[in-house]
């Protein structure tokens, strides 16, 4: 399992503990309210609201989850329970770019193990870990529905296929700059 555990990083619920206690911005709350207005029942916006929160805060801290629960009007327990069910929410800080390597059948057949091995060596982290510079978090993923390009991975929102150790190096280089060039892979 790659889902982060839900225990807070640090104890204490007092004041002045950024970024653990960082709250949602008003614009994020407005975006959540916009999502809620799309649905006959506001809870339908919860998954989207959690992404809004996660995109802004980097991960779903207890403080941010409290804010989501207040805006959507649901108990914190429900919001946290729902979030923990889905694998694309993080409860701990992650790197700037999330690398998700598919390890399902088709990618296994086409050598994802080699790609993953190379990534671990190259980044110096194991699956589930973040590089010391905070740039990449390495995770495995289930079938990304792009088996025609197996083996496949996603870096951030970009999909990259037909991976070999050589192409992986080139792809990572594209994310080396602090500002992201957004290479659109197809």
């Amino acid at each position: 399992m790659t889902t982060g555990n839900r225990e807070p990083e640090t104890g204490g619920r007092g004041r002045g503990e950024p970024p653990h206690q960082r709250r949602l911005s008003e614009s994020a709350k407005d975006e959540i309210r916009r999502l809620m207005a799309q649905f006959p029942q506001p809870q339908s916006a919860l998954l989207g609201a959690l992404f809004v929160a996660q995109d802004e805060a980097g991960y779903l801290s207890p403080a941010v989850l409290e804010d989501v629960s207040a805006v959507v009007g649901l108990p914190l327990s429900e919001v946290t329970s729902v979030a923990s069910f889905y694998h694309l929410y993080y409860f701990k800080p992650v790197g700037r770019y999330l690398i998700q390597v598919c390890t399902n059948v088709s990618c296994t057949l086409d050598g994802c193990a080699e790609v993953l091995h190379h990534l671990r060596a190259r980044l110096g982290v194991d699956v589930g870990q973040t590089t010391p510079d905070g740039r990449f978090t390495l995770r495995t993923a289930e079938c990304l529905a792009a088996c025609e390009e197996a083996p496949v991975m996603m870096v951030g929102e970009d999909r990259h296929g037909k991976l070999t150790p050589e192409t992986v190096d080139a792809i990572l280089a594209g994310y080396a700059e602090p500002r992201r060039p957004t290479p659109e892979a197809r």
Partner: protein, 827 residues
Amino acid sequence: MTDAKALINVVIDGRDIRVPQSTTVYHAAKQAGIEIPIFCYHDRMPPLGACRMCLVKVEKMGRLQTSCTLEAADGMVVSTTAPDVHAGQEAMLEYLLVNHPLDCPICDKGGECPLQDQAFRWGPGRSRFVEVKRDFAKPVSLGPVLVLDRERCILCWRCVRFGEIIAGDDALKGFERGFASEINTPFTLPVQSKFIGNTIAICPVGALTAKSYRFIARPWDNRAVSSVCTFCGVGCAVHLDVRGNTITRVRAREQPAVNDIWLCDLGFYGQAYVGRDDRLRRPLVRRDGALVETSWDEAVDVVARQIRTAGGRAGLLGGGRGTNEDAYVLGRFFRTAAGSNHIDHRVDLGPHTASAAVPWGMTMPIADLAAADVIVLAGCDLTEEYPVLWLRIKQAVDRGATIIAITPKRLEIGRFIVHHLVHRYGVGAEVLAALIGGRTGRRRIGQTPGGVRDDALEAASAALMSASRPAVLVGRLALDAPDGVAAVDALLEVCRRLGTSLNVMRGKGNEFGAALAGMLPDHAPGYRRLEEGRGDLESAWGEPVAGAPGLSAPDMLAAAARGDLSLLYVVGADPATAVPDRRRWTAARAALPFLVVQDAFLTETAQAADVVFPALVIAEKSGTVSNVEGRIQRVEAAVQGPGEARNDWEIISLLSERLGRPLAYSGWEEIFDEMRRMIPGLEIDHRITARPPHDGFDARGPTPEARVAPVAGDYPLTLIIGDALFDRGAMTARSPTIADLAGEPWVLLHPDDAAAAGIADGDAVVVESAGASVALRSRVSDAVRRGDVFVPRGFDATPVNKLTDGDPRVMVRIRALAAVAGSTGGT
């Protein structure tokens, strides 16, 4: 729903069974005495079909079926014993046990554990599992009540669904998924619930256990005694489990008319005070300024002499914590031997409040709440005052009922309230009047009195008038408010228009039994007015009964302060902390020649007494009690009291004998029989309610002093005093779980007011009125309106009644106790 459903025939294990349509196969089998094992199914909740334990084979259906989810159909042929059914059940048990720690010898559930029992009966008897079991940190503390052992959990979801479906508090939830699924709270924070004890009761394994019961007893060590919880007034039926002379735990006893099979956590964990070492064991008498232990003989002698001397200038306060029989004997004694009608169980009555103007209790049965279509909560903080009634109302909500709440504080159940009109304290009556058509004539566009929006009011009004099965409840936040009489007047008009009666949600413990038994200054037993019933009393008792109606509780204090009372007899009450205005109590006590207290503990009042009698508590008593809907229920003594403590009525018997007017009863039954002759309809499990509130209600009322307009002066905030379910009173402070749940006394204030005073959530603060102050912990929340602060009563060590000065509207200010960095300091 009473429409009879068509009957259908099913065959289960070769037996023909007739059941109504839409009966599940599980229930059909159960009806025929055929046992099908279950884990996730619970008959108070809809079927879930998760555990897959209740498998059966149905002819013409390919797969095994879960009998808890499958509706029986006419002609269906079912087997619960086919080989593949056994194979399936064995497989399910094997799956459940592979990751279960099998630590039964040290598990509190052992001996009453469905998993244990079913593994014994249906299990494979062996496991092929050689892998490493799932590993969780354990046990995990989830607050003062609950201990969680995730390894034992079989993920039946009962506890989660209890919170979602029954209690509506979503206290426990499932987290993660698949094999990593676990039941927990978010971030393992203390569980937020008033009902979490029920999840322990319905947990089919030892995953949820009570801290208070850990390693205390095995089920076969316990003897279950039937009793009734008398904390809040709902009167939930309980089993007190007793080992030796100790109550090991409290369980709900099924009582369909009251609590069904549920309790609140006060009921579950509030009984620990019974066995405390600081219970009073022997009578105390004041000697050289100090209370010292003495014999019953001497104590009774002293008190009897004082009563004789008082010659009718005696008052009796309390009686709401004992049995009906206690209250009856107390009243009879006082009206005859003591020659006084100064009798009042309403110790916490404010002198000019609506609480003094209406009889207490519900006019409708509790069970009917679940069928209501519109529920009005006027100043009634239901989950803090009568928590188990919320479970009924939650059922009504699930059936589509609309809750309209008019309160000065946003209620915890706010998520379920459609029309929640949170108003400034003291203008609830205007909001209520506006609800029924603006008799104030002051409705403006946008805002109405109390900051309630006009459109919200209009919507609530429309919903209210559409009610066909209304339930209208008024609570203490309205009754004791400065405009309480006007609020009741408006509510009576609401009830008149809707064709219903007002339910007065006021009174705790057995105060309803005390009222029924005649512990009121102007009422004889059976809610008869004294002037009407006096003749009957005299003929029944064969003695003269004092004439004119007596003084109410606040009037007794006033009389005492004036020197007009020679003796005050306090039974099971602590007026020092309970009266609305502590200064009045202090003045009364100072001027009072003699104070007798009959209690289980040396309360603040008892410490000031001249004689203290050690009394038994309800768990030690046999007899009857009455609840908020007037239902008479039996209690049985579960344990023996400490030392020489006695029943209240027994103490009175001693006194009466010493006064030469013996009231010799052989036991509670004889007293109950005497009461039955006097009170028509008095039977176990019957209801006797007070006269309806509109009968004799005077809208000009005991209404008071003109309302003080809020002034932005030295004391800019209006103080609201209300109930918290978990507090630290004489009993609750001595029940460790409840004291922990209560925590430190607190004050709720609006974020704007907090910001203005430089106060953050959780700060130590001082709330001051002219002349007094209390130290509290801040809770910053917009649950109250700006300008209002809420402080719970019931924390005896921090009595909030210090702040009041006799006026129903109390103005206070608040400041941080210690300077907070970055703030400019409080006002």
